[in-house]
Symmetry: C2
């Protein structure tokens, strides 16, 4: 049995506009790195470094990586002590699956240390236990792509069923993270508990349309389908300049754009590197105009699970 492991897990874009709470994709960067090392106690000892690491709780019950590992250990009936170091490449509260990334790296690593008792799909459940600490809800649209890679549909939560979606060859993802946080818990509580039936039909039609578009590699259909009637109307108001940025992006040749997860990160999909660079700069400049620093990333879909490094 190995004693120590270091794992990198990617950020992710949840919702992708039309798939609120049931669609997510993994991107290549940014990422978190989690180091696990057995110690002689029966306890988890957590340290954190990197971006906004002071915001991350180190109590294992309140830390997403810690809680995910506790869930894993509980399920295999082990009470091992571990030193856990989390190096944050993804700022917490940014909307690109920061907590999911730490949880994914943690459960992938602990599974490796124990000789892989679980398949990747089975790790999602433990990752969700970690996610719940951060968001107050049991959801999988970040953790599933963070653990499995690719574009993933959560068809059902009870029982949990994750489906793989095709990745159009030219697809590129742009994310820009403005330098302020939105609390995932608050962002969720803002949402309406009920939605008009008409909106529910439209959202479902768009999610199915997006699914067809991925199979057909039809970027125009992706574009028409990327509409969010559930979260964006509420959460868009939390992001200064959002409406203007969205309108500017629509004039560029983007496939679609929206709020990544619960925000404030803004994402866009494109099928061209020059367009991707242009819109990344555009968003950063718009935030700068209203006094908000931001950082942007361009990446293809990450098709791989977390990596041992």
């Amino acid at each position: 049995m190995k004693n120590k492991i270091k794992v990198r897990a990617s950020a992710s874009i949840a919702n992708i506009s039309c798939g609120f709470d049931c669609l997510g994709l993994s991107i290549k960067e940014p990422y978190d790195e989690v180091t696990l090392e057995f110690n002689n106690s029966k306890k988890l000892s957590i340290t954190v470094s990197g971006k906004k690491s002071s915001l991350i709780p180190v109590n294992p019950e309140k830390n997403t990586a810690g809680k995910a590992i506790l869930s894993f250990l509980h399920s295999i009936g082990e009470k091992k002590g571990l030193n856990i170091h989390i190096k944050k490449g993804i700022p917490p509260g940014s909307g690109i699956g920061s907590s999911a990334s730490s949880a994914a790296a943690a459960v992938f690593g602990i599974n490796e240390l124990f000789g892989n008792p679980y398949k990747l799909e089975k790790l999602i459940f433990h990752g969700m236990a970690g996610e719940e600490v951060a968001s107050g809800s049991f959801h999988a649209d970040n953790i599933a792509p963070a653990i499995l890679g690719g574009i993933r549909l959560i068809r059902s939560y009870e029982p949990l069923e994750i489906l793989n979606l095709p990745i159009p060859k030219k697809l590129m993802c742009v994310v820009v993270l403005p330098d302020f946080s939105i609390n995932t818990y608050d962002a969720r509580n803002m949402l309406p508990k009920r939605v008009p039936l008409k909106s529910a039909v439209e959202q479902a039609g768009n999610l199915a349309g997006f699914t067809i578009a991925l199979y057909q590699e039809n970027y125009e259909l992706m574009q028409r389908s990327m509409v969010d009637l559930f979260a964006e109307p509420v959460r868009g108001k939390l992001i200064p300049g959002y409406k203007k940025i969205q309108n500017l992006l629509k004039k560029e040749n983007v496939i679609g754009c929206g709020i990544s997860g619960s925000g404030p990160a803004i994402f866009a999909l494109a099928n061209d590197i020059d367009v991707s660079k242009k819109i990344k700069t555009l968003i950063i400049n718009e935030f700068k105009k209203i006094g908000i620093d931001s950082i942007g990333y361009i990446s293809k879909v990450q098709t791989l699970p977390p990596q041992i490094i």
Copy 2:
């Protein structure tokens, strides 16, 4: 210019459980036949024969075929008189797109008589005008498959966009029509105006899951995805014996079953002719036990548009 035409258009199964108001498929039988013949008046004169034809209004403004033709004539700026005869093979109010079938045959026929000024997709709008007379709502989940054939997703109503879905090779459709009517208008008014966000997410996930299943020809995934959280909980109560029949069908090897459109027709999908025959008999027998006559049909998906006969 031809003076007379006779067109046959198929019944259809709307909703298919997980696709309330945005999914429908065409079946080979039963069907309606509509005969159109120019007369020397400027008026439409409608006669109806066949199943429950006494229930069909003959006022062109209130008749689905009449209204669809009026919409078509208005759009091309013509004021022709027509004798319209509708032979009902599909009883009205049965839930398998009776009004859509008449409207589809009518607009297909009138388009032919005028030398096909419109493509099939463009006829859907006029068919919907006919549908609106019967249901009080502007929907396309029967008329789109009735005009285009196949399995169709209505991704968007404004603007109208109909997407084609793959048809798994072995797919068979069973419909059983109990001998009573449900008024489509009433069945629609019973529905909740708002639904829980959680249900909307689940329904969207299932519709996307069903879409993936069609692409993958994955009957097990189709089965898991065929759940209706919107209409069935309300409309199931209008059909005596529905719950029992559904439970019995689930024990058979069906892919899925539910209420066709607004009912009372019950439909099931299967991938085997013997299973199809068995479940058709099972449903008919269950209705018989509670004193309700019914008639059943087994058919593959109708891939063709309306046929000139």
